[in-house]
C-alpha cells in the first residue's frame, strides 16, 4: 500500500490519462486503448477541461480507437478484440505511429498484448508500426503515464543510434496536459536552445516530427526540466543509448532562465562568448519590458504575500519566480504530488537557494481542503485584538481548485497549475524569458482587476 490511503480531489489523472495526453501530443501519432470503454472518454474529459480547454487534437477525445473491454473480454480475454481493433484502425485511420495503451482491466486479466502487437507489426505491410505502453491506473498516476509513453518511444520506436550527434538535445519533463503551460513552455525552451545553436527534440510542438524523434537516441544530452517525472525516461535512454542526462528545474523569468542557459552551456561546453551575447540580448529585451512595471510597483506597492500550490515542477518554478523576480514573500508552498517521505528532503533542498526557511515553508499535501490548515499553522488567524498582522496583501497562485480557498481569505487568485478550467490556454507559456513576462502580466492583471 502506498503511503497515501486516499486522495481528495486528486490533481492528476491515471497512468492511462497521462500516457494518452502524451501520445496525443506526438506528431501524427494515434493512441489505441486496450481498456474498458470509458477510460478514454473520462480521462480525455479531465485533460480537456483541466488543462485550459486542451482540445481533443487530431484523434483524441471520443475519437480514440478503443477495444472497449466488456464482460465478455474479462471472462474470455480481449486479444481477439484487440487484433480486430488494430486491423480496422490501420484500415481507416491516417497516422504514422500507433501506441497501444493498456488499461487496468486489460492488465488484470493478463492479456498477452505484447504478442498481439508483435504479430501486427510482423504482418503490417504498409501500415504504421505499433508500440506498446502501460497505462494501468493502479501502477501510477498520469505523471507516471508520461514516462510510460516516453519510455515506450525510447525503447521501441527510436533508431538504434548510428552516432552521437553533436549539438542535438532532447527536452523531457514537460508533461502534456498535466503541465498546463506545456505548449507555450516547449516553444520557449525550444526558442532558447535553438538560440544557443542547438538542435532540439521537444517532441510535441509543430516543429517536431517523427523523423526527428527517431533520432532522439543520437542526442548529446537529455535535458529533464523536472526533478522526478521525465527522469525515468532519461534513465532508460542512458541505459540503452548511453545518453547523458541533466535534470534542472523549469526556468521561469530572466534569473532562472539565465541560470538554466549557463548550466546547459557548461554541460555542453558551448562557446562562452556566444552564450554571453545571447543572454545579454535576451536580458536586455526582458528587462526593458519587465521594468515598465516599476511605476505601478512603487506607487501602488505591488509586493504580495503568496501561497503557491502546484505539482513538483510548478510549485518550485513559480515560487522561485515570485520570490526572486517579483520580490514576494511565500509563507507557504504546497506540492500536491504524492511523494513518498523518503524522497521529500531532496525536493525541499531545491528551494534553499531562494527560501531561507524552506523546511517550514514547503509542505507536501494532496488534499485541497487541508491547505488552509497549513496556512493557519504558519499565519495565525486574527485573535480579536485591535492589532494583528493580516495575511494581506496576498495572492494564491494555484489551480482552479484553490479559488475557494483564496475567496475565503478575501485575496486574489490565479489558476496556473492543473486543473485550470477557468482559463483558455493556447500558446501561452510561463517558462523562459517570454513566459516570465506573461506570468507577471497575468498576475498583476488579476491583482488590479477591481480597478
Amino acid at each position: 500500500m502506498s503511503e497515501y490511503t486516499f486522495l481528495e480531489k486528486p490533481r492528476i489523472s491515471c497512468a492511462l490519462g497521462g500516457a494518452l495526453a502524451t501520445v496525443n501530443a506526438l506528431p501524427r501519432t494515434v493512441a489505441l486503448l486496450h481498456a474498458s470503454l470509458g477510460c478514454g472518454g473520462m480521462t480525455s474529459n479531465a485533460n480537456q477541461n483541466g488543462s485550459g480547454y486542451l482540445g481533443s487534437g487530431y484523434c483524441g477525445g471520443n475519437s480514440i480507437p478503443t477495444t472497449s473491454i466488456g464482460e465478455r473480454e474479462i471472462v474470455f480475454g480481449g486479444l481477439d478484440r484487440l487484433e480486430e481493433q488494430l486491423r480496422n484502425t490501420a484500415e481507416i485511420i491516417d497516422a504514422d505511429l500507433f501506441v497501444v495503451i493498456t488499461g487496468c482491466t486489460a492488465e488484470i486479466i493478463g492479456d498477452d498484448v505484447e504478442s498481439t502487437v508483435r504479430e501486427y507489426n510482423e504482418n503490417r505491410g504498409d501500415n504504421p508500426p505499433a508500440i506498446l505502453a502501460s497505462g494501468a491506473g493502479f501502477k501510477g498516476d498520469s505523471q507516471w503515464g508520461y514516462d510510460s509513453a516516453m519510455e515506450a518511444i525510447f525503447r521501441s520506436y527510436v533508431n538504434p543510434p548510428i552516432e552521437r550527434k553533436k549539438g542535438l538535445v532532447n527536452v523531457l519533463g514537460i508533461l502534456p496536459a498535466q503541465d498546463v503551460w506545456w505548449r507555450g513552455d516547449l516553444l520557449e525552451i525550444r526558442r532558447i536552445l535553438t538560440g544557443l545553436g542547438l538542435e532540439v527534440n521537444t517532441f510535441f510542438t509543430a516543429q517536431d516530427s517523427l523523423d526527428k524523434i527517431r533520432q532522439a537516441s543520437e542526442a548529446e544530452l537529455n535535458i529533464v526540466l523536472s526533478p522526478t517525472h521525465g527522469v525515468t525516461t532519461a534513465e532508460v535512454a542512458e541505459e540503452l543509448y548511453s545518453t547523458p542526462r541533466l535534470a534542472t528545474g523549469l526556468p521561469v523569468g530572466a534569473k532562472a532562465t539565465t541560470e538554466f542557459v549557463l548550466e546547459i552551456a557548461k554541460r555542453l561546453e558551448l562557446d562562452q562568448a556566444k552564450v554571453d551575447a545571447f543572454l545579454a540580448e535576451e536580458r536586455r529585451n526582458y528587462y526593458q519590458i519587465f521594468n515598465r512595471l516599476a511605476d505601478a510597483y512603487a506607487d501602488i506597492d505591488l509586493q504580495r504575500y503568496a501561497v503557491v500550490v502546484g505539482n513538483v515542477r510548478y510549485a518550485h518554478a513559480f515560487a522561485k519566480f515570485v520570490n526572486t523576480e517579483l520580490g514576494w514573500i511565500t509563507p507557504l508552498v504546497v506540492i500536491t504530488d504524492q511523494v513518498e517521505s523518503s524522497l521529500r528532503p531532496a525536493l525541499v533542498d531545491r528551494f534553499r537557494d531562494f527560501l531561507e526557511d524552506a523546511d517550514a515553508v514547503v509542505v507536501f499535501e494532496t488534499d485541497t481542503s487541508l491547505i488552509e490548515t497549513h496556512l493557519a499553522e504558519r499565519w495565525p488567524r486574527p485573535d480579536g485584538g485591535r492589532y494583528y498582522q493580516p495575511f494581506s496583501p496576498a495572492f494564491v497562485l494555484g489551480s482552479r481548485l484553490d479559488k475557494e480557498f483564496a475567496e475565503g481569505l478575501g485575496i486574489s487568485h490565479l489558476s496556473v497549475s492543473y486543473p485550470v478550467s477557468n482559463r483558455v490556454i493556447l500558446n501561452r507559456g510561463y517558462a523562459g524569458f517570454t513566459g516570465g513576462l506573461s506570468l507577471t502580466e497575468d498576475i498583476y492583471t488579476v491583482a488590479l482587476a477591481a480597478r
Binding site: F6, G38, C39, N88, G137, S142, S421
Partner: protein, 515 residues
C-alpha cells in the same frame, strides 16, 4: 418490476435489450426495435466514450451535501475536475450554497490492492470523509478494478454504516459491465430506492399543528407532481416546466438532480411522477409505482409543440383537467407562433442533422421539422430501446438513422456526405462535425434552455444566430484535418456494424418473437 432485492441492478442490455449500434432508416430502426432484433448488434471498430461511472455523476454528483468516493485507481474520478466551476454555478442557481457538494475522493488503488483487495482502504476513506466533512450522504462509486478483483462493496457499506453519520450508498458502476452508459441512471436510482427513500431518519412523520393544517397538506399533496429533471437541463428549463405545471394549478417537487436527500422521501407522497425522459427515469418511476404506488407519466419529452402538447395533455388527463390544458396550450402556441415568425425566415428549409440521446434526438428532430420547417437530413441516437419508438415512428420513414454512442468515424462519414447547413448535437461529439466546416449548435447542456415553449424560441433564436455568421466553422473546416483516410469517406458508413437483418414491415411481430 422490482429489482430492489438485488445488490446490483440489471444492465440496460439485460433489462431493455437496449442497443447502441444500428445503421439504416427510421422505419428500419423502429421495425427492428419492435421485433426485438437490436440487442446483439455490435461493431468491429470502436472509439472511446464515457462509461456508466461517469454518467452516475449526472445525478449523484449533483446531490447537495453529498461526498463521492471513487473506489478505484486514481484516474476514475478525474473527469470530475472538469466540473469545478460549472457545478458551483448549477448549485447556486438552485439556491444550494453548501460547499461540500463539490467534494470527492479517490481510494487511489495501487498494485498491492489489486492483489490483496481494496476494502480496507475503502473503509478508512469512508471514516475519514465522514469525520472531515460530515456530509449527509457518501456515495461509493465502485469502478472496474474492484469489480474485477471482487471487492464486496455492499459488505463494506453494511459494516461501516453504523460507525458514520452520513448515509453511505453504493453505486455499482464498473464501466466494463455495460456498453449502454444510461445503465448509470438505474444504478443511482437503485441506491436511492434501496437505501435512501425509506431511511427512518429522513422519514419521520410530519407533525401538524391541527387538523386544518393536515387537511391543507393532504389537499396540496393531491396536486403535487414529482418533476424528474436531468443533469443536462438548465435552471431555466426547470423554471419553464414549473411555469407550465403551475399554470395547471399543480405543485411541483423537482428531483433527482440538485435535490437535497430528504426530497426523495417526499417523492413517495406525490400524486404523480412526471418524467421528461424515459431513458433517464423508467427504472425509478416503475419502482415508485410498484412499491409505493405513485403513478407516472413517461411517454415523451416536452420538446417541440407536438410533444409539449402530448406531455401536458397526459398530465392534465390524469388530474381530469384537460379543458384547462387545452386553453393553456392554445394560448401558449399562439404566442410562440407569433414570436417565431421573424426567426423562421432564416431557418425555413435549412438542412439540419441531429445527434443526441434517443428521446431528445427524436423529439428535437420533430421540432425542427414541424415547428421551424427545417429540412431534416439525418438523426443519430446514442442508444436505442423501446422508449424511442413513439418518437422515431413519427419521423420520415426513409430518414437516415444511426444509433451510436459517439463513434465520430460514422458521424463524419455521414455528415460529410449529407453536408447539412447545421449540425445540432451533444457535448463531446460536436467538434468532429465542426472540423468538417459545418456550423454547430450545442443544445443539450446544463446552461442551455431547450425545453418547453421558451426552449423552442431559444433554440430558434440561437440557430439563427449561429447561421448568421458561420465563419469560425468554415475556417476550421479549411484549416483542420480529421484523422481518417480519404478512402473512409468513400466507404459505407456502417461498414463496421454487424447487425441483425432488418425485418420487413409486414413480418408478423408475434411470430417473430415466438420463433
Amino acid at each position: 418490476m422490482n429489482y430492489l432485492d438485488k445488490n446490483v441492478p440489471p444492465t440496460r442490455e439485460e433489462r431493455l435489450k437496449a442497443c447502441n449500434t444500428f445503421g439504416g432508416t427510421a422505419c428500419g430502426l423502429v421495425s427492428s426495435s419492435k421485433h426485438g432484433c437490436l440487442g446483439s448488434n455490435d461493431r468491429g471498430f470502436l472509439q472511446s466514450t464515457g462509461c456508466q461511472l461517469g454518467l452516475t455523476m449526472a445525478i449523484a454528483g449533483t446531490i447537495p451535501e453529498a461526498v463521492i468516493i471513487f473506489h478505484g485507481p486514481v484516474g476514475c474520478g478525474s473527469s470530475q475536475l472538469s466540473q469545478a466551476g460549472l457545478s458551483k454555478l448549477n448549485q447556486q442557481s438552485r439556491g444550494n450554497t453548501v460547499k461540500i457538494t463539490r467534494e470527492w475522493f479517490s481510494t487511489n488503488l495501487s498494485e498491492s490492492e489489486v492483489v490483496n483487495g481494496g476494502v480496507e482502504k475503502l473503509e478508512a476513506t469512508i471514516r475519514e470523509v465522514d469525520r472531515r466533512h460530515r456530509p449527509k450522504v457518501i456515495w461509493i462509486a465502485s469502478t472496474c478494478v474492484p469489480g474485477v478483483i471482487g471487492d464486496d462493496v455492499d459488505a463494506v457499506v453494511q459494516k461501516v454504516q453504523h460507525e458514520v453519520s452520513a448515509k453511505v450508498m453504493p453505486l455499482h458502476c464498473a464501466g466494463f459491465k455495460t456498453r449502454i452508459v444510461a445503465t448509470a441512471y438505474d444504478v443511482v436510482y437503485h441506491a436511492i430506492l434501496r437505501y435512501l427513500i425509506d431511511d427512518p431518519e429522513l422519514n419521520r412523520e410530519l407533525v401538524f399543528q391541527d387538523e386544518v393544517e393536515r387537511f391543507a397538506y393532504e389537499e396540496k399533496r393531491k396536486r403535487t407532481v414529482n418533476l424528474l429533471n436531468v443533469g443536462s437541463m438548465s435552471r431555466v428549463d426547470e423554471d419553464e416546466l414549473v411555469r407550465l405545471l403551475k399554470a395547471l394549478n399543480l405543485e411541483v417537487n423537482i428531483l433527482p438532480c440538485f435535490a437535497p436527500p430528504d426530497r426523495f422521501v417526499r417523492a413517495k407522497d406525490a400524486a404523480l411522477c412526471v418524467s421528461i425522459c424515459a431513458t433517464h427515469d423508467d427504472y425509478f418511476v416503475s419502482h415508485l409505482k410498484e412499491i409505493w404506488n405513485v403513478p407516472y407519466i413517461l411517454s415523451t419529452i416536452p420538446i417541440g409543440t407536438d410533444h409539449i402538447r402530448k406531455w401536458l395533455f397526459e398530465i392534465a388527463d390524469f388530474f381530469g383537467i384537460r379543458d384547462q390544458a387545452e386553453r393553456l396550450v392554445a394560448a401558449e402556441e399562439a404566442e410562440l407562433k407569433k414570436a417565431l415568425e421573424p426567426l423562421k425566415q432564416a431557418l425555413k428549409g435549412k438542412r439540419v442533422y441531429v445527434s443526441a440521446g434517443e428521446i431528445r434526438a427524436g423529439a428535437q428532430a420533430i421540432l425542427f421539422q414541424n415547428d421551424l420547417e427545417m429540412e431534416l437530413i439525418g438523426v443519430r441516437a446514442h442508444h436505442y430501446d423501446k422508449y424511442g419508438d413513439v418518437l422515431f415512428q413519427d419521423l420520415p420513414d426513409d430518414l437516415p438513422v444511426n444509433v451510436a454512442t459517439s463513434q465520430p468515424f460514422e458521424q463524419v462519414n455521414l455528415v460529410k456526405r449529407a453536408n447539412p447547413d447545421i449540425y445540432v448535437g451533444h457535448v463531446g461529439g460536436n467538434v468532429w462535425s465542426a472540423k468538417l466546416g459545418i456550423p454547430v449548435l450545442p443544445i443539450f447542456g446544463p446552461l442551455n434552455n431547450y425545453l418547453g415553449y421558451k426552449g423552442i424560441f431559444e433554440i430558434a433564436n440561437r440557430l439563427a444566430r449561429v447561421l448568421k455568421n458561420p465563419s469560425y466553422y468554415r475556417t476550421l473546416g479549411e484549416t483542420e484535418a480529421l484523422p481518417y483516410k480519404e478512402s473512409w469517406y468513400q466507404a459505407d458508413p456502417f461498414k463496421y456494424i454487424r447487425q441483425a437483418p432488418i425485418p420487413a414491415e409486414t413480418d408478423p411481430i408475434d411470430a417473430d418473437i415466438a420463433a
